[in-house]
Symmetry: C2
Subunit: 255 residues, 2 copies
């Protein structure tokens, strides 16, 4: 399988590398910044380009992994391609491809958080697929199955909900980790002390429902402890706001 | 070492079981509800009591693992004990023991989230210790080191901060997991799809700083995606409030 990668960010890097590792031929990397295209292309042993007219016409799969607001502009310039063109965005509808004259198109959304420096095991990453026709979906399925054992058909509407749920479960949780690390650092305490707790909290919900394993003062209705916490936070308006908002939601959940 | 456990909840169960597994003799379990004392005592092969006057006077260590607001009342009735009396609360100061006539006292706070049905590896749980005298601290250190390799001396003030940070990192994260699971369930989508993401998010910060691995629309300043998310949440005032509060904090953090 010949693959062209459009984009050079975190998702592009991990996805293109995973295709390469699964045996695909990564023939080109496009970025509007040639240096960025080069950085990824050198790892993948492929050609770096910054001009869409140089795109290889023989590829089977074109992966668009650019920022959400750049997808539509790129799609509008790809109507001459014959291979399958997919974007990898959770928040962008399949309809971005409609009426753009692209023959074969779809979505391959890997539901994971990527950092360039950290390797990930693609086999355990859910891949959410959608395509313009059932034939294109089947082609995409075959390609995705070379990367992961967790391949799902997900509509644009459902994918947007998944993306939103992922913001709560991942982006917001990571920010809470940061806020707690920062609170500890400002008091000369090590974040290392919290790491086993963070890992166990995430490990627990792999088998239990989060609803069933909630702990802490809010679910116990322990107002004395919550008031002491708010006292500790009296110079911290942002943390106070978050503490109150989430505690209120916990109390409401278990009313 | 002879240990008496006062309390029969999650922390009591895990801590007493860990002492038992490390070779200690769990001679008694006290609970004001005898059936609860029996339930734990039967696992530990120890005596169940619901009357403090029946407490064995020969124990080396008395573990008070009851709800925070019950600690002071219990401590007031234990002034005749000669062994080391410790509570296990993150949010309760060492001073709860002062002027109560107890000879030897301290705190053993395991920084972890416990559910009765889920086994935990105590060796990797940070144990935060404090005691009334350096001799008692040394005794407590020897006892704690039989359970975990991560034993720290932590003052009451620092322990309260750790407990507060743990609420952000653990209790609030778990609630976010629940909110996302609930959002998916109401839309007939499986929470399984988010599980690898949740685990990876927690695994990432075992080696990276949470500040450095933040992802999502808020850190990108991607207002278009955030507005689409808020549209999806327009019938969900609680989720909208949390989404706005946490996104605002992320944007402020990376200004």
């Amino acid at each position: 399988m010949k693959v062209v990668c459009l984009g050079s960010g975190n998702v592009a890097t991990h996805l293109a590398s995973a295709f390469k590792a699964s045996g695909a031929d990564l023939i080109q990397v496009y970025s509007k910044t040639l240096a960025n295209a080069h950085a990824l292309a050198s790892v993948l042993n492929s050609q770096a380009i910054d001009n869409l007219q140089l795109l290889n016409r023989e590829a089977d799969l074109y992966l668009i992994s650019v920022s959400d607001d750049a997808i539509a502009g790129l799609v509008g310039q790809l109507n001459w391609l014959k291979g399958l063109v997919v974007h990898t965005s959770g928040a962008t509808s399949l309809s971005v491809f409609e009426d753009q004259g692209i023959s074969h198109y779809g979505v391959l959304y890997p539901l994971q958080t990527f950092s360039k420096s950290r390797p990930v095991d693609f086999q355990t990453i859910p891949l959410c697929l959608e395509a313009g026709t059932s034939e294109d979906l089947q082609t995409l399925h075959l390609a995705a199955a070379t990367l992961s054992t967790l391949v799902y058909n997900v509509s644009s509407a459902d994918r947007k909900l998944l993306h939103l749920a992922a913001v709560f479960a991942c982006n917001f949780s990571n920010h809470l980790y940061h806020l707690s690390a920062d609170l500890l650092a400002r008091n000369h305490l090590s974040f290392d002390l919290l790491k086993p707790l963070i890992l166990e909290t995430a490990a627990k919900v792999q088998s239990a429902k989060p609803y069933d394993v909630q702990t802490g003062p809010a679910i116990r209705g322990d107002e004395a402890t919550m008031n002491r916490h708010l006292e500790l936070l009296q110079e911290e308006p942002v943390l106070t706001d978050i503490y109150k908002t989430l505690s209120k939601s916990i109390k409401k959940t278990y009313l």
